[in-house]
Point group: D2
Chain length 341, copies 4
């Protein structure tokens, strides 16, 4: 491990960027040097209004003025932040990170990109469980989107335990985050072309497993739902499956019978746990939905879309910076500081 | 065919009952003798306020008073209606039809029940495509619920063309009809225990095909969505599948690319077709969701929950009354009068 | 009255345009010569798929091709339609009618515009109850938007009976029509700057009455809700108010106690009345919300946003064409053919 | 002030009870001795799963078993808790507190009740701004409901500054909290009889000001919206009003122009401030909705329904226990520990 903490910058302090910042900042071997944005959207305002726990940099001159008008103490420009970090997580609006990449190359720093970018932006499309070793030491790594990340966690947990031949996942997609008030639909369910992109991305990081994903978008805001059926290679009964899921720290089992009857109820539970923002990093699985018929395993899981990719983003930093040589070591460290048991 | 029209009564003039009445009334060989309810809920008020196109009977003395207070001209009591009909479709609130059954037995009339009753109420659980001949001449027939009816239509269309070995259907369930204002959830998706009852019911009417169904309830009102994957026995490509679907009059293909992007959009289209109530009897399938991977066929369909069971209810009357000896003949006649081409 | 029927064209066969067409077509003294659009959106597809009850014209060459690809029999171009009509109702997407106006001027025909256009487009901003006589014989008339139209109906009914000094109306705005799937919010209420534009428009057509309107947008699709309080000049009790409302054919009273507990329930009632599209032309008022405290009258009304402006659009044609010299005569004729008693 | 901390118990650890517990526990002069519930609903599960920061008591024997099955360390029964406290805040489900009251009387402890109980349960219906002194030393105090509490704050702030003669408030009511999945409506707005109970309650605590309230319930979960118009006695312009609002610590101004475009956006901002549960204690007012026309002030405010009554509950404890003799002193102390500036 490096003798100094990994110096991390965040570009784009939005729904994902702010959570990566807070997650990275919990890691004993990493520090947030600064965060950068172009305008005082809600997360940036909250950062400013709560005392700017991270130095705030401006994406450009116009942005600097806007941030200062919102009361910010601006520490410098994007270029200044780039000079101070080992690695940048660029979670700016889709399209912007592709424009920023050349800056990172010129400055000789590494960068992590998010699911909204095209796969070409990075040297490797990354998921910890699937292909950590491929990302070791890479300069540019792209994470999977939230649904594909959650699918990797559960599918690869089963694959590790029993072997998975193929799977189908229906994604009941939350149409918007709580404050994305411009997005619909209001009272409609919207199917997309089959297969959707998640299966394709999955098969890039794990080509051995055949996948199909289907997306139907619905008017909810507190998490996607995935209904999956996977064909396993070894024989397993329902208890075996529950046992495998329960041993993976990034999965958490909930019971309908305990009152966890919906994604919003789990969200409220996380608020009542006093988790920051009511977030959770794990993928919830409802126990009563776990069902085995011959060699096919069925289950329904939730994707807390705002926070689920945070652990894998931190793992990606570990891979790029080679702080840990194996997925297991990297995850153990990330999990520890994010309190995933 | 009988020399007189089949005399049909409707008990329970709610969302389903009123639509069965109007569908039956379109049939050249059937007539609605009367409809019966216990209180002036919205459909009954609309019937009264638009001139009572059917004679209205009261379920009991208290109901008679309520109906008259709402302006109804009450033609008699439930018992009076029973005496005048050959067959009763009992679509009253779940539980009531089971209480009414002995009246029908005593009077020597036949009866059709709906999906909300327990299967024990009837001699046969019925779906036209699946087991019409089993219902021929039976006294008590129970229809499948709306989702299972829609699943039968598409699965059995494929089974007829290519053979279906097994299937899984994820039901994205609309939580309430438009005026069911007491029902939630508002901003949540609610999974149910897997497998859900629809697969069980399906396998009763078609035991040769293995089925699993999964239900997630979401806050929408204009139709359920089913995402299905079926394993077929014979080889078929996407065009073959589309061709098979397009030939079944009770299925209708829509294109996302033509602007039919959701269940509510299809509902609005039906309103613009000036269909009564904006209803449709067919199962819509979105063409772009039809996908074939080896021997597995995927597609997403909509279930217009208010009207979809009407054709099969009419078929059930045909089976009970033996107006037609085969499913094909019965459907041809029903379809003709419901304008399903 | 003219010896021939008024020849009316419709430009923009969308949610409003299609309903104006059907409403005009019910009038004994008017006929729809043709309707025009630029693309096969859902209402146009439904028109084509149900047999093109009106001749369909194309807005431009590209549109002609699109319409023909959707199966349309295109009768000609917009210019051709213009030559055949006495008056055009231009309900195309906001901004387009302003571009079309010069065509109407050149051709010497009159035109009616909708609420989405800027007030400058017309010679007069129009509401039948407020200023029919000002619009007599005018070439270009603009209708009020749906909420302001509904507010005019109830406020001016009270003004006629008791005198209204001033009023405030809170508009709980439906955020989207059922098939406007791109519009949010999903789980949020969005206030707007106070006062909103509706009051301003009202005071243009009725300057004697002072008005303030407030808008909060919420995630519903079947009608706006207005909560109004009006200061009346003469003394009146609750029964007087209900009596005045009940005598206006364009207002309809509903009781919460009869089960009409929401806008969606009234929508479902209209579907069950078998009204085309489940539409209604009247403004519903819930009786239990009518309350009088000293000289202030309170009530809550619904605005069926898709259909409410149709009667006033037809009245506007009457004013422009001078088929009737007074608001009372015009409304009586319009109401008769729209079955508003 | 008492030489020992006020010993407070909480009965009913639900949405309100858990927040009162956490708010009380922040007060330097109060301590939570224990909390009590009858079953492991979500808030109780979260308490247990996060280490039981408060001793947990069982409402009854059956409840004890349920709590223990959920992993709780049960400290005793309700009666045991009663013996250890000076005052109980009973926020159990409506109806239960009325049954518990005799226990509190027998034990000689005081109690605070919530808005869902009937007014007869207490010696005084309480709001700090309105009638703190009436509650001094009282044994049984009932708080106002969330909307009426918020209305008191803003109306009485204006009353204090300019005098308020009368007001009307339209309450756009959130139909359910996020995890109340059984509650609807899904796509409907539901008016209630006018006037609603909030005005009546307001006039009990502040009889000098005449009030009318109107309620329309809509499908949202993150806060009610109130649109109010108040007639003031002294002359004031918009800046005066904004100034008065800005000086009240329990009100917080937000700008639509800063991106705070909805109740859900403000909720997300509170999450990003890392407030526990994403809660806020203040009443948000949108600046752009503050409007003055002659002597009438208009504004739109939000009611964060889960947390807004917490400060007044703590004030009520202060009044009952006479820790502070005036509303101003009580509020200053409560505000300080709740970080309301």
């Amino acid at each position: 491990m490096a003798t100094h903490k990994v110096r991390v910058g965040i570009t784009g302090f939005g729904t994902i960027g702010e959570r990566i910042a807070d997650g990275v900042n919990e890691q004993a071997d990493m520090e947030i040097v600064g965060v950068c944005d172009a305008a005082p959207a809600i997360p940036v305002r909250a950062l400013i209004d709560s005392g700017q726990r991270y130095p705030l940099y401006a994406a450009n001159a116009e942005g600097k003025e806007k941030l200062e008008n919102a009361g910010a103490d601006v520490a410098g420009m994007h270029e200044d932040l780039i000079e101070k970090v080992d690695i940048m997580v660029d979670a700016a609006s889709p399209g912007i990170p592709a424009q920023n990449k050349s800056k990172y190359e010129s400055a000789g720093i590494k960068a992590i990109f998010e699911g909204g970018e095209s796969n070409e932006i990075a040297d490797v499309l990354f998921n910890t469980h699937a292909n950590y070793s491929e990302a070791l030491g890479k300069n540019f790594i792209k994470n999977l989107s939230c649904n594909t990340t959650g699918i990797c966690r559960t599918i690869l947990t089963l694959d590790n335990a029993f072997g998975v031949k193929e799977f189908t996942s229906l994604i009941v997609r939350r149409a918007a985050d709580p404050s994305e008030t411009h997005k619909g639909p209001i009272n409609a369910a919207m199917p997309a072309k089959v297969p959707s992109h998640q299966a394709e991305d999955f098969m890039i990081v794990k080509p051995e497993i055949s996948a199909v994903t289907v997306v139907v978008t619905v008017p909810i805001t507190h998490g996607h739902i995935n209904s999956t059926q996977a064909v396993i290679k070894e024989s397993a009964n329902r208890d075996d499956i529950l046992d495998a899921f329960s041993k993976e720290p990034r999965i958490k089992l909930f019971k309908l019978g305990d009152g966890f009857d919906s994604n919003s109820t789990i969200f409220d539970y996380n608020r009542d746990l006093l988790n920051p923002r009511g977030d959770m990093y794990e993928v919830p699985i409802w126990e009563e939905t776990v069902y085995v018929k011959e060699n096919v395993v069925y289950w329904v899981q939730m994707i807390p879309q705002e926070a689920i990719v945070i652990p894998e983003n931190i793992d990606a930093i570990r891979a790029a910076m080679q702080t840990h040589e194996s997925a297991e070591e990297a995850m153990r460290e990330t999990n520890r500081y994010l309190s995933m048991l």
